[in-house]
C-alpha cells in the first residue's frame, strides 16, 4: 500500500474520537468528524476563542491552519494501522477569503501516502462547500513500527 491511499478502517470514527479526546488542542479547537458516503468530513465547532480580530469577528488565521492540519492527521489516523506514529513537518495554508464567526467544515484529499511520508491537502469552507475559506498543503512524516 506504499503508493496508494489506504482505505478507511471500520473503526475510523472511534479512532478519531479517541485521538481528539487525548489532545487538549483538538478539544480546544472543538473538532468533530462525520462519516459520509464518500469519506469523512470534519467540523471546527465555533467558539469565541477562535476569533482573531474582535472588530471584524473573523476566525484567527492560525486557528484555521491548525484546524486543517489536525484534520489531515485525523484522516491518516483513520486509515493507517494503529502502531503508526505521525509527525507533522510542514503546513502551508492559503487564505482565499475572510472567514465568519461560525463553524468551519473541512475535507481531506490524500495526495500520496508513502511508507515514510504523506502529502495531504485540506480544504476548509463555511456555508456552501464551494465557499472555500482556506486550503492547506500538509507534509506528515509517517513513522511505522520498528523504524523508531
Amino acid at each position: 500500500m506504499a503508493n496508494s491511499v489506504p482505505d478507511l478502517t471500520p473503526d475510523a470514527l472511534e479512532r478519531i474520537e479517541k485521538d481528539i479526546a487525548g489532545s487538549g488542542m483538538s478539544r480546544w479547537l472543538n473538532i468533530s468528524a462525520t462519516a459520509e458516503n464518500d469519506g469523512l468530513s470534519y467540523r471546527l465547532g465555533f467558539a469565541e476563542g477562535h476569533i482573531g480580530n474582535p472588530v471584524i469577528r473573523a476566525l484567527h488565521g492560525g486557528v484555521i491552519s491548525s484546524f486543517l492540519e489536525s484534520c489531515a492527521r485525523l484522516e491518516l489516523i483513520a486509515r493507517l494501522s494503529p502502531g503508526v506514529h505521525l509527525r507533522t513537518t510542514s503546513v502551508h495554508t492559503s487564505y482565499f477569503r475572510s472567514s465568519k464567526a461560525q463553524d468551519m467544515l473541512a475535507r481531506i484529499s490524500l495526495q500520496r501516502v508513502g511508507r515514510r511520508f504523506a502529502f495531504v491537502e485540506a480544504t476548509g469552507w463555511q456555508g456552501e462547500e464551494d465557499n472555500v475559506v482556506a486550503r492547506s498543503a500538509i507534509g506528515i512524516r509517517v513513522i511505522r513500527s520498528g523504524e523508531e
Binding site: 483538538s26 471584524i56 492560525g62 491548525s66 492540519e69 477569503r97
Partner: protein, 174 residues
C-alpha cells in the same frame, strides 16, 4: 516536565525609538484583550513582548499542558504544533504593524509553518519575528519559535499579509 525550566520573567521590554505612534497603545490594548478575554491567550502562562523594533518583534511565551498533543502521537506530553502556528501568525502580524506609519487592518494571505522540534508544557519559549518589507500592499514576514534555554528551533514560519483590508464589508480577504 521539561529539563529546561521556565526562565524568570524579568526581561525588560526593549523598544525601538522609531516605532509608529500607534503601535505601543495598540499592543497594550491587544495585551489587555487577549490576557483578560481571549480564551487561548489568557490561558498561556506567559505571552509577553521582550523586544519591539521597526519590523521586528520578540515574545517570551510559556504554554500550559492544556494545549498538548495526543500522547499516542508524541510518545510523551508535548505542545501541539498548532499552537505555534497560532502564535507565529499573531506575532508576524505585529511585525507588519511596526512597519506602518498609521494603523491599517491586515489579513493573512498565506502562512507556511515548518515544525523542526517540539516543546514540552511549561517550557520557556522565545518567538522572534520580522517583517522584511512591504511591496504593493503585501507584507513579507518570517519568524521562528525556539527553546529559550537551548536555542533549539521548534518551528519556522513564513507569512504574507495583505495590508489595508476592508474587513467585514468585503467578501474577500484581499
Amino acid at each position: 516536565m521539561s529539563d529546561t525550566p521556565a526562565q524568570p520573567d524579568d526581561q525588560k521590554l526593549e523598544i525601538g525609538d522609531d516605532l509608529p505612534d500607534f503601535i505601543l497603545p495598540m499592543m497594550e490594548a491587544s495585551r489587555q484583550f487577549i490576557q483578560n478575554e481571549h480564551n487561548l491567550f489568557a490561558r498561556l502562562k506567559t505571552f509577553r513582548p521582550t523586544r519591539i523594533m521597526r519590523g521586528q518583534a520578540d515574545f517570551s511565551i510559556t504554554v500550559p499542558a492544556d494545549f498538548s498533543a495526543a500522547p499516542a502521537d508524541s510518545g510523551g506530553q508535548v505542545i501541539h504544533g498548532g499552537i505555534f502556528t497560532i502564535l507565529l501568525d499573531t506575532i508576524l502580524a505585529y511585525t507588519v504593524w511596526t512597519r506602518l506609519d498609521r494603523f491599517m487592518p491586515i489579513a493573512t494571505i498565506n502562512l507556511k509553518t515548518d515544525y523542526l522540534g517540539h516543546a514540552e508544557p511549561e517550557q520557556a519559549i522565545k518567538v522572534m519575528a520580522q517583517c522584511e518589507g512591504i511591496a504593493d500592499d503585501v507584507a513579507f514576514c518570517s519568524g521562528k519559535a525556539v527553546c529559550a534555554g537551548t536555542g533549539d528551533v521548534i518551528a519556522l514560519a513564513e507569512g504574507t499579509f495583505m495590508v489595508g483590508t476592508k474587513g467585514r464589508s468585503s467578501a474577500s480577504r484581499l
